[in-house]
Amino acid sequence: MEEVVRQHYADHEKQEIFDKEFLPHIHSMYNFGYRLTLDRDDAKDLVQDTYFKAYRFIESFQKGTNAKAWLFRILKNSFINDYRKKVKEPNKVDYQEVESYYNSDDVDRQITPDLRVEALRDMIGDEISNALNALDVDFRTVIILCDLEGFKYEEMAKILDIPIGTVRSRLHRARQLLKERLSEYARSMGYKNT
């Protein structure tokens, strides 16, 4: 972890940073909060708390640096500290084991032989959103950070406080699990295995 260099900002500077660097991310923050808590009201509270903390600790933020990653990290930590306890904790996954097992191309390609692009084109409702929400929160998180928010491995590692190798294997596993879910929808929609 890099050392935090404390900044000193005048009140008007704090306001400016808050308005110009923090608030523009409100929709991404809300979506992240919603995908973590799976509840619109909790998401609102979580986002409010996050922005409140961001303002209080604004002097730990260096003007002009990556505000979005900084905010996402605060939101993620708030979620773990204040919300995750409330939610039933899903089984922990041993990522080490997952990585060695999934380190083969053959394994990957056997898992979802039946999901085809045509089936995805017919998923015009909430299928994908439900499939995403059904994943374990750690897997859901990396998909959101990478595919929706466009964060890089290095940024994700900082937001989540995990090594880059873990980001990579978690993303890989998350994509597999998402595909499995979508295959189930495809089957239920009448797409046959081919």
């Binding site: 609102k44 922005y51 191309d105 909430d126 994908i128 595919d147």
Partner: protein
């Protein structure tokens, strides 16, 4: 015509299809890596299919899994902060 493989070796072995694909999907690839993989897909059908499928999933996620913060949330945040300054 074969381009030099720009993907890093893994334990002395050249990158597997799945390793290359992940770099591409996770948007961590350099221009050279993207070009190499594009050429690779022309003769590697499994990679082509996997790429197509994963790319379609990504597009679906982007189209369907974003939400907009409710009206008034910004105001609520500003009001709460106004109380401490």
């Amino acid at each position: 015509m074969s381009l030099p493989n720009p993907f890093p070796l893994n334990n002395g072995k050249k990158a597997t299809c799945r390793e290359m694909l992940q770099v591409i999907l996770d948007d961590e690839a350099s221009t050279e890596q993207r070009e190499y993989f594009k050429a690779h897909m022309e003769f590697c059908m499994p990679c082509f299919k996997d790429y197509e499928l994963n790319f379609a999933i990504k597009q679906l996620l982007q189209a369907k899994c974003n939400s907009v913060a409710p009206d008034g949330l910004k105001e609520q945040i500003r009001n709460r902060i106004a109380q401490i300054i």
